[in-house]
Symmetry: C2
Subunit: 107 residues, 2 copies
Amino acid sequence: MEMEKEGVILERQKIDRSQFEEAAYILKALANETRLCVIMQLTQAGEKSVTELMEQMDCEQSLLSHHLTDMRAKGILRCRRSGKNNFYSLSDNRFTNVLKCIMECGD
Amino acid sequence: MEMEKEGVILERQKIDRSQFEEAAYILKALANETRLCVIMQLTQAGEKSVTELMEQMDCEQSLLSHHLTDMRAKGILRCRRSGKNNFYSLSDNRFTNVLKCIMECGD
DNA sequence: AAAACACATGAATATATGTTCATTTGTTTG
DNA sequence: CAAACAAATGAACATATATTCATGTGTTTT
């Protein structure tokens, strides 16, 4: 919003919405049942293969895989190959901290 | 996944993904730059009219209004009418707790 | 009462996200 | 090396979310 006052244009100080981009990005990355379920499992187990994750979730292989790939790309998860299996684990960064907070805050 | 063992069908215990519905719902409700900006402003100011919110945001009136209406419907915000103005404030519930946690957890 | 103000609403559109299905890649095992 | 296993990928589709534009509603001001 601009205001003119005595010939001088005063630009009222505005909050830059982009300062919330990071926060929104993190929140979006977590805001999904399947992804939360994965995170929960990995929090408990430390590391799990895709098959192991699937066994506890009732989620199609392909769908789970897409989510895992995305989460890995976003730095939420790490992946380690061992034989036929890919073992996923949480990469200890902002994402897991945030989630822990959310769980604790509860209610 | 089902396994048969000695004629008895063992249903491996699965995590009910729907237990994460609530958490995902809350996260989604917060996961947006505009909404985070509103929440931030209301956290600081306590209460603001739509115009006041807009003055600090560079956001179209209609868009902001849609978000405010949604957030109100989801119980994130309260609204109080006074004359020509609608004053919004945070309704002190799960949403604000979660957000506070996220902000504190930071990094 | 007309005009101005503050905001909400609805329809249309744009964009992002989630989901499925079929197929492919890499690895191990017989 | 063929078959089986574990998982990834890509295209197509479905659904949800965000955004814009035009208009409507209630309130105040003149």
